[in-house]
């Protein structure tokens, strides 16, 4: 017998993600999903961002890691709520595990939640985890071809952070080609350039986050 199903394969995840997004909007909490390769600088950017936001906002972090609690431990010094999700080898986070993390937070007291996704440019772009915005984090040392190779991430993201710009002179990173690919994929997407080791130039990024929080 032939059975017509016509069902979304990630339907259960998408439904849960939608619920989480609505709950957070209701609580006026902005949830941001940081996606980038291993070594792109996600945790360092998060550290700098927390240092800046801590002056004015209540921030919490969900750390996704394949194994270990190293990233979570790096953030302990800020004395903010942090939950760690070890995916045990899985390459991305899903809405169900984010729900468990959110249950551990006092949402009424928070303004923003940052999720550091598992270091990977493919799978995290695929999974809606209830965030309000995905952010693509790329460093110049990874090469300028990343937008062309991982188009879904750049289509799905609301902003791009280009990190390690201080190293650009030592690489063959072709900025014009990078910009053109990003523009072709997502012309109106804002790009924030950072060099976390040389002084990250955070102001435009922080302003963007504040504006995004207000627009919830």
């Amino acid at each position: 017998m032939e059975i017509t199903v016509m069902k979304n394969i990630f339907g259960a995840n998408a439904e849960k993600a939608g619920e989480l997004r609505a709950l957070l909007k209701d609580k006026k909490v902005l949830m941001v999903n940081l996606i980038g390769s291993p070594g792109a600088g996600k945790t360092t950017i998060l550290e700098k961002t927390i240092e800046e936001l801590n002056k004015k906002y209540k921030v919490a972090v969900i750390e996704g890691d394949v194994a270990t609690d190293r990233d979570a431990r790096r953030l302990q010094k800020y004395e903010i709520p942090i939950t760690l999700i070890n995916t045990d080898g899985a390459c991305h986070l899903e809405a169900l595990s984010i729900e468990q993390s959110l249950n551990g937070f006092d949402l009424d007291s928070l303004d923003m939640i940052f999720i550091e996704n598992v270091g990977n440019l493919v799978c995290p772009a695929e999974f809606d985890i209830g965030e309000h915005a995905k952010i693509a984090i790329i460093s110049v040392t990874e090469g300028d071809d990343k937008p062309a190779k991982y188009p879904l991430l750049f289509r799905e993201s609301e902003a791009v952070i280009l990190n390690k710009t201080d190293l650009e002179q030592y690489t063959n990173f072709n900025r014009a080609s990078f910009m053109e690919d990003v523009k072709n994929l997502n012309a109106s997407i804002p790009l924030f350039e950072m060099s976390c080791t040389k002084g990250p130039n955070l102001a435009p990024w922080i302003q963007w986050l504040e504006k995004r929080l207000q627009s919830l």
Binding site: M1, M6, H92, L152, L185, N186
Partner: protein
């Protein structure tokens, strides 16, 4: 290897449908996959073979029906297929576009025996 995640979720649905329809064997499963999903057929087959091993879907044929990425321009209503990842209207060069199709990830049909 997001194909493994896709096939894991797919298999849960196959099991559910098989239960509802009292299937004892699954012969064929067809999917509708938007090009934006970046699904690699060989990786899908590998994952499907591994995950269905020893189940009622072992040896079933996995059919993938790909859907090109189609966008609609918000300025001039022109609809076009996206090639080479260029999301710019070829008619008026506007960049504010809405997705018409190409992001699907659906299980279409299951053929089996009850």
């Amino acid at each position: 290897m997001h194909e493994f995640s896709i096939v894991s979720s797919l298999f849960e649905i196959i099991e559910e449908v098989a239960r509802e329809n009292s299937l004892v064997k699954v012969y064929r499963v067809s999917l509708i996959v938007g090009k934006m999903r970046q699904v690699v057929p060989v990786a899908m087959e590998m994952a499907f073979e591994a995950i269905t091993k020893g189940t009622i879907a072992e040896g079933a044929k996995l059919q993938l029906e790909f859907v090109p990425i189609k966008m609609k321009c918000r300025s001039c209503d022109h609809q076009f297929t996206v090639d080479e990842h260029v999301y710019i209207c070829p008619n008026c060069e506007a960049v504010e576009l809405d997705l018409v199709e190409g992001q699907e990830l659906l299980i279409k049909q299951i053929e089996g025996e009850n």
